[in-house]
Amino acid sequence: MAVDGKKLTQSRGCLRALAVGLVLAACRSPTTTEEAPGFEPFTTTTDQPIEPLPLEEPVNRERATLGEALFEEPLLSGDSKVACADCHHRDHALADPRPLSRAAGRPDSPVNSPTMYNVRYLFKLAWGARFDSLEAHNDALMTNPNVMASSWEGSAKRLAGKPGYRERFQRAFPDGLTPANVRTALLEYERSLVTPNAPFDRYLRGDAGAISERAKSGYGLFKAYGCASCHQGMAVGGNMLQRVGVMRDYFADRGKVTPPDWGHFNSTHLERDRFVFRVPSLRNVALTAPYFHDGTATTLESAVTLMARYQLGRELESDDAELLAEFLRTLTGEYRGKAP
């Protein structure tokens, strides 16, 4: 019986160990998770209406470089004739020097093509603020028969036929060349288009000599006239909507109102949104003439003069337009260390 007793003890021990083990496994001690450092949207770095742009944004280089090639690739369009760069010119700060863009085999664009720089900081996309995200805007332009007249699937197919793209996609994506990856690469490039370190940003960061005295005066006027009521934030605009012609009827004075002039109304069909546009960013504004959605202002001076008249209800005095333009020129940042 001594042997039996020992066996008994062993089997009891085994059963207990089994039970305890299983219970422990089932209960699993709770794991403490560290809360991600909270994104704090309410902090500002200055007490000014304008914030400097971040010096760096996270970018996947491989994909952004691939996206850059796609940006200039006509194969993206349905007829392989139009590239993004046809309206967003590399030598014009990715904007269009023509009042209205014109691409091969397409009707004239209804509005001036704005710059691609700093699009990642815009709260809504397109003049009329039709799109809430860069993705939605790209999807719409891709399928718009007057723009790319294509689809991501079609683009991917055409790209696959051109030597080199398969390999480049293979390097940038685990699953290689797919419609979704064409879109991702293009968006990665667009989001990499930031122009930090403008003289005015350096000034905001404490470098008093970064801008001229005239520009500083211009900045003072920018605030005093009330430009900074709308053109504020780090993109100096791009974060709100505003009616064109707050103090005077711009469209009545210009004449020949067409649907593109209706702005946000085209998206919401609400009367209160008629002539409401997204306030454009003034970053690099010195490089992106002509101005306004209709491309009617050809110089900074004329643009600020018109803005003061129609939006602020005032006529600029003496050389205030020049001073304001002087200030606006300090908003030109750096892309890859150079002017965009």
Partner: protein, 546 residues
Amino acid sequence: MSGSVLLRVALGLCLASFLALTTFIVRHAIDEGEQARYAHELRRLQTLDSGLNEAVLRARSGLLLQYDPLVAALGELHRLEAALRQAPRFFPKSAADELSARLADWSRALKQKEGLIETFKMENSVLQTSLHYFPVLATRIIDRSRAAGDVTAFAARVQNLSSALMLFEAGGDADATGRVVRAQEDVRGALDAAKRVGLERDAEVAVAHARVIVERKPTVDTQVRLMLAAPSFQAALRAEETYSAHYRAALNRSVVQKQLLFALALGIVVLGLTEVILSIRRAALALSRVTDELRVANEALAEEHEKERLRGELRNRFVAMTSHEFRTPLTAIVSSAELLESFGERWDAERRLDHVQRVRQAAGTMQRMLEDVLMIGRAEAGGLRPSPSPIRLDEFCRRLVEALEHSTKKSHVIRYTFLGDPDVTMDERLLQHVLGNLLGNAVKYSTPGSEIHFGVRTTADECFFSVQDHGLGIPPEEMPKLFTSFSRATNAQHLPGTGLGLAVVKRALDVQQGTVTVESELGRGTTFHVAIPRRLATADITLTPP
């Protein structure tokens, strides 16, 4: 065995439930990381909501000069809106649906708030511009009109409007509104005066900005009020409450599940132990049964072996004894025969007769011995059958006594008594074996001249015989093997004898369904009591070998 089967079934069920429950618990376990993230994001909805309200108020009062914080907070809220769409996996479907309904309420409230904020931004920008610009403009108008020599007519009205606007912006009650409207009328009515001092452009701008303030301030304030009243915070709070309630429920469920799991584990341990104990007991029982069987078999084997040894021993003794016992009368026969052959003619008749009688006596002894041996052999082979016949018992016994007296030449006094009905049915030959041996022994083991009592009594069913001597007696330790073949008492070794007599008695009685008992006292004598059925039938008698 059904208990054992039940136990195993119960144990199996317990194990299966345990495994199933464990799998269930593991699959539906509350992921603490997921829960912490989800709860944090739900709380963040409220933080951001409050932050938005505060930022709007700051923007309204001119303390916040840009809208990036509003845009970023709304962006973050939309990100959370998407992230919260996937309810925690440990939520049952009903809970997930309820939570999703609460979050949908919140989304609607957020959308409403976002619309109000967008309008606020537009209107507030315009209002702030005019609010900041109007005093500057008013000061300039006053300065210029002073310079132009007009202090009262126009400048005073502009000054009045400026004050009214400041009061309006500061309070905005009915009085202030009335005053600002009147002041506006005054300024508009004094435009001619403005023209006189060349300030008509400035006057128009002032009127326009005053209108902006008067029109937009209520709009902006309404937007702010509506935005502050928008139910997004309450909706977020309700979503969090719903989440917390279901999380608590899930926690309670998991506690109950774990208790059940523990109970099952306990059940498994208890049932398992019982099973182990029972199987050990069963094994022990089986072992003891086998041991018992082995022991019994062993004992039987030992007994058999002992019997065999005794049998061998007896046979040896038989051989030794018979070689001696048979040799004695044989020697007597041989020597008498030789003497008769050599000297017979010379001897007288008497002497010759003496030797012839010796031969006869010795041959008779041998014959009896041979009969005894043969009888025992037959009995042991199962071949001894009684053949009863009617006899007169008293006469038979008397002849027996007379024959004994004759053969012993009346060396002992034999007292014979008979009682009862003498007519019986018995096997005369077997009875001869029984009584002859008993009486012979009585003579042999008692001193000459002593008395031997031979009593016979018959009843309706049985005959009783008793043979009593006053001889050596039998040692008590010899009693158990008294009736076995070739066994002789230790105190009788010096007397001639084969050790067959009582064995013959026993066997002869066995086949007659008789019994024999013995009383003996060492040195005082022995009494044998024999009982035999009075009427012996032959048919049903079968002798089982000992």
